[in-house]
Symmetry: C2
Subunit: 499 residues, 2 copies
C-alpha cells in the first residue's frame, strides 16, 4: 500500500521587515492632517505634483546622509534594458529630475508640494521603518532668501493650523555659509582640499549639540568621544582654538535677532562667504519681523546645520519644544518634525547650470505622533456602521432592503454577512463598535416592527447595573418601533450619542 502525499508549500504570512500595515484610525486622521498641510501650502501659491515611486538610479543620485556607504541605503533593481532603477529615498531628488526635464516650460520660480512614500534600505528599528511618508514643499528657480523666509513662515503656519500651540513649536533658522565662513577662519574650508571628511564630521558633531551638550560636541570636534556603552566615535581632530570658535558659533543663539547677528559677524570676520551668510540671515530676520513672525515662532539658531551635505545657504528646522517620553522611556524634548534648506546644486547635476532652490520636508509620522501626543489629531466624525442582523437566512433580501434604506438616509450601515447565530452576530457588532443593531425576528416581522438595540447605552447600563439578571430581563436600551420609522429612530439614537 502506498499513500501519495503532496506536500504543499505554504508561505508564511508576514509583512516584510521594517514595513508596516496602517490601520483605519491612523489612515483617516493622517488624511485629515495631510489636508490641513495642503491647504496651507495652497494658500502660499504652491502646486501639487506627483512623481513615480522609482527613478533611474543615475538620475536619483547619491545624496543619502550616510557617508560611509554611499552606494547603499536604496532599493534598486534592473530594468529589462539593463538600466538600474531605484525606489526614491526622498522627494527632493525626483523634483530635481522633474525640474531638469521640464525646465523651459515651468514658471520661475516654481513652487510645488508633494507628499508620498519614500523608501530607505536601512536597518529598521523601533519607530524606524524602511517605508515612510514625507511631505515636501520647494521653491525652485530663485536665489532670493525671501523664498527661504517664506517657507519658514509657511511651516510655522502649518504647525499652528494643525493645532500645535504657539510656544510648543519653533522654526530654527541658520545659514550654512556662516558655518563655511567659520570653517574658513579655522582653515578647513575649500572644495577638493581633502578636508571633506573632516567637515562632515564637524557637521555631525554640531548636529548632536542638543543631545550631547557642548562638552560632548567638543570631544567630537577634537579627538573623539566614548559613549556610555563604551563605543568610541572618532573625532574631527580639531585643536582647542578651532573647537572654541565652532562652539562660540553654535552657541550664539538668543532671543534678540540683532545681537545674534552681531555676534555672528564677529565670529566670521574676514571670511567673505561667512559675511554673505550673515547678511542673508539678517535679511531673513527682517522679513520675519515685517510679517509679524516673532522669535516665539521663528528664531535664529546657529546650532542648526542639517546633516545633509548638499545644503548651500539657509537651513531650517521645525522643532517641537514640549516634553515627551522617547522609546527609551526618557522624558525629552519632542524634537524635529521637519527641516530643509537651500540646495543650489541639485538641478545643476543634470543641466550644468545653477538652478537655485530651497525646500522643506515634513517627517509625516513624527508629526502625526506629535499631534497624537498633544491630543490634536482629528479623528472625529467617524461613526461606526449600524449592523442589521440576519435573523432568518430566508429573509436576507428584507434585511438587505433595511440596510439600503439606512444608507440612503446617510447612515453608515451594513448587513451581517457571517455564518452563525445571534451570539456571534452580537459579538461581531461589538467588535465593529456598532452604535446599534437592528433586529427583526419572526414576531417583529409579523407585526411590521423592528427592534433597535442601542449598544453604547447598553454597555453603559450594564456597567452600572450590578444585577445582571435584572438587566437582562429589563432589556434596557432597546426599543421596538414600526418598520416605517426605522430610519427616524436610528437617527435619534445616533444623535443622542454624538451630542
Amino acid at each position: 500500500m502506498s499513500s501519495k502525499k503532496v506536500k504543499t508549500f505554504r508561505p508564511k504570512a508576514r509583512v516584510p521587515k521594517g514595513l508596516r500595515d496602517i490601520p483605519a484610525r491612523e489612515i483617516r486622521a493622517m488624511a485629515r492632517m495631510m489636508r490641513v498641510i495642503e491647504q496651507v501650502y495652497d494658500s502660499y501659491g504652491f502646486e501639487p505634483l506627483e512623481t513615480s515611486a522609482f527613478e533611474y538610479t543615475d538620475a536619483l543620485g547619491k545624496f543619502l546622509p550616510d557617508l560611509d556607504r554611499p552606494n547603499e541605503g536604496v532599493f534598486s533593481f534592473q530594468d529589462e534594458d539593463d538600466q538600474w532603477l531605484s525606489l526614491r529615498y526622498d522627494l527632493t531628488a525626483p523634483l530635481a529630475r522633474y525640474v531638469a526635464e521640464h525646465y523651459d516650460g515651468l514658471p520661475k520660480p516654481f513652487r510645488r508640494y508633494q507628499s508620498g512614500a519614500v523608501w530607505r534600505n536601512e536597518k529598521p528599528g523601533p519607530g524606524r521603518f524602511r517605508q515612510f511618508t514625507q511631505f515636501d514643499a520647494d521653491t525652485v528657480g530663485t536665489p532670493l532668501v525671501a523664498a527661504d523666509a517664506e517657507i519658514c513662515m509657511m511651516a510655522a503656519d502649518c504647525m499652528e493650523r494643525l493645532g500645535i500651540p504657539r510656544g510648543s513649536y519653533v522654526m530654527r533658522v541658520n545659514n550654512r555659509k556662516i558655518l563655511d565662513g567659520v570653517l574658513e577662519t579655522i582653515g578647513i574650508a575649500g572644495d577638493g582640499d581633502g578636508f571633506e571628511t573632516q567637515r562632515m564630521t564637524v557637521l555631525r558633531a554640531i548636529d548632536k549639540l542638543d543631545r550631547l551638550g557642548p562638552d560632548g560636541v567638543r570631544r567630537l570636534l577634537g579627538d573623539g568621544r566614548k559613549d556610555e556603552s563604551g563605543d568610541f566615535t572618532k573625532g574631527a581632530g580639531l585643536d582647542t582654538s578651532q573647537s572654541d570658535r565652532i562652539l562660540a558659533f553654535v552657541s550664539a543663539e538668543g532671543d534678540d535677532a540683532k545681537s545674534v547677528i552681531a555676534a555672528l559677524r564677529q565670529i566670521v570676520a574676514g571670511s567673505e562667504i561667512g559675511i554673505q551668510g550673515v547678511d542673508e540671515l539678517e535679511e531673513m530676520a527682517t522679513l520675519f519681523e515685517a510679517a509679524g513672525y516673532g522669535t516665539d515662532r521663528i528664531r535664529l539658531d546657529p546650532s542648526v546645520v542639517r546633516g545633509l551635505g548638499y545644503y548651500t545657504g539657509p537651513v531650517y528646522e521645525a522643532e517641537l519644544t514640549f516634553q515627551a517620553v522617547n522609546e527609551d522611556g526618557e522624558l525629552v524634548r519632542f524634537g524635529s518634525v521637519g527641516g530643509g534648506g537651500r540646495y543650489d546644486g541639485l538641478v545643476e547635476r543634470f543641466k550644468g547650470i545653477v538652478v537655485p532652490a530651497t525646500g522643506f520636508s515634513i517627517g509625516v509620522s513624527r508629526l502625526y505622533s506629535a499631534l497624537d501626543h498633544l491630543g490634536k489629531l482629528d479623528t472625529g466624525g467617524v461613526i461606526e456602521p449600524v449592523v442589521v442582523l440576519v435573523m432568518d437566512r430566508e429573509r436576507i433580501a428584507d434585511y438587505q432592503a433595511m440596510t439600503s434604506r439606512l444608507r440612503e438616509a446617510g447612515i453608515r450601515a451594513e448587513m451581517y454577512l457571517g455564518g452563525s447565530g445571534m451570539k456571534a452576530q452580537m459579538k461581531y457588532a461589538d467588535k465593529r463598535g456598532a452604535p446599534c443593531v437592528i433586529i427583526q425576528g419572526g414576531d417583529e416581522h409579523a407585526s411590521g416592527e423592528v427592534t433597535i438595540k442601542d449598544l453604547i447605552e447598553g454597555s453603559r447600563l450594564s456597567k452600572e447595573i450590578e444585577d445582571n439578571e435584572e438587566w437582562r430581563s429589563g432589556r434596557p436600551a432597546q426599543v421596538t418601533v414600526s418598520l416605517d420609522s426605522l430610519v427616524e429612530s436610528v437617527r435619534e439614537i445616533l444623535g443622542r450619542h454624538s451630542s
Copy 2:
C-alpha cells in the same frame, strides 16, 4: 602647455520608461474622485487599510494573468538577508497576506477598502503604464453571495455618486461556476486533468466577445484566429458542438433576469457545479431586485468571465456604455472601469483553510478618463494665487507683508520671487493664471496706495479692443486703492470672476 579638464558626468533627466509625473489639475480632481468613492465605501461599513508598497515575493504569489510568463510581470529585488521582495502588482495579494497574518483578531466578515499604486513590469504602451492606481473593496470571511451582491450595488452607487448617469454604466454579473458547469458538460473540466491551458484559452476567448463578436470568439474556441495584421492566435481546439454550447452560454444575456436564469439552467443541466452557480446567480438577482437595483443598473451577463484564474464564484464588471474615441481613433464603447469577483483560495495559500472572499477593483485612471470625457470631473474651487509684484527690491518686506495680509484673509497669494523687471513679472503672473496682480511702485508707496490689475478682465478687454494704443493708455481693468482696502478690493475682483 597642458589644460586639465575633468569631464563631469551629467545624467539625462528623464522619467523611467512607462512611468509618469502627474500634474496639479489631475492630482486635485483625482483626490476629489477618490474621496467620493471613499464616502460610498464608508457608508457600506468598509474600513480603510494601507499595506506597504512591497511584499515578500513568496507571500505575493503569482497571480498575474500572463500565463506564458508566470515568473515575470513584477519588479523584484533581494533583501540583505537574501529574501526576495516584490513591488505589489495588485491590492488583493497584500490583502490576503494581511488577513492570513491577523486572522484571529479580525471581525468576520472583514470589509476593507484600499487605494494605492501598483506596479507591473510589463511593456508600456499608449495609456499603459508600469505604475498605476487601483481602488479596491473586499469582503473577507463570508461565503454568502449577499456579500457579492452588496459589492455590486456599492459599485453601482459609486458610479452614480461620481456623476455617471444611470444608463451610461452597468454592472454586469456572472458566476464562474456556471462556466465550470459548461466546461464540465463539454468534457474539459476538473483539476490537474491537463486541461488547464485549454480552459484558460477558453476564458480569454470569451473575454474578447465584445471586441471580436461571436464569430471571432468561435474561431478562438476552435482552431484559432488570424487578425487583420496577419498575426495568428492559437485556438482552444474545441469542436463545433463544444463551441456551440459555450457560445449559447455567453449569449444568454437579456433584460429579464428570470429568463436568463432559465436559459442558463438548461445549458448546465446535469452539472452539479453549474447548477450551484445558477442558484447563486439567482440569489443575487433576487437581492438586487429587493434592494431596487433594476437591470438598468445591474444585469446578469454570462459573457463576463474576468481573465484571472483565481475567481471561484460570482464575477462582476463595471462597464461604461457610452461611446468614446479610443487610442486608435475609433469610436467604441468606453468599456470596463473595474471588476472583480469571488476568490475563495487566496488566503488558503497561507493558512491551509478556506477563507471565502470577494472583491472589486477600480482602475482609477480609466475611471478618471471616463469622468473627464463626461465633463464630470470636479476640478472647481481652485483659484490661482494673486501675485504681489516686487517693484523695489529694497522694499521686499513691504510686499511680503501685503502677501501675508491677503493670505490671512483666506486669499491664495504669493510674492514674486524671480530676478527680473516688470515684464518678466507680468509674464510670470500670466503663466501662473493669476486672477490679479498687486503693484506698489514709488508713487503709490508715497501716497499710501496700491494698484490692482485684474488680469482676467484685462485679457477679455484686450481681445475686444482693436486699438492697442487706446487700450494701453486707457489702462482698463486696473484700479488704484488705498493700502488699507487692499484685501477688500481683491476680494471684490475675485468675487466678480467666481460668480
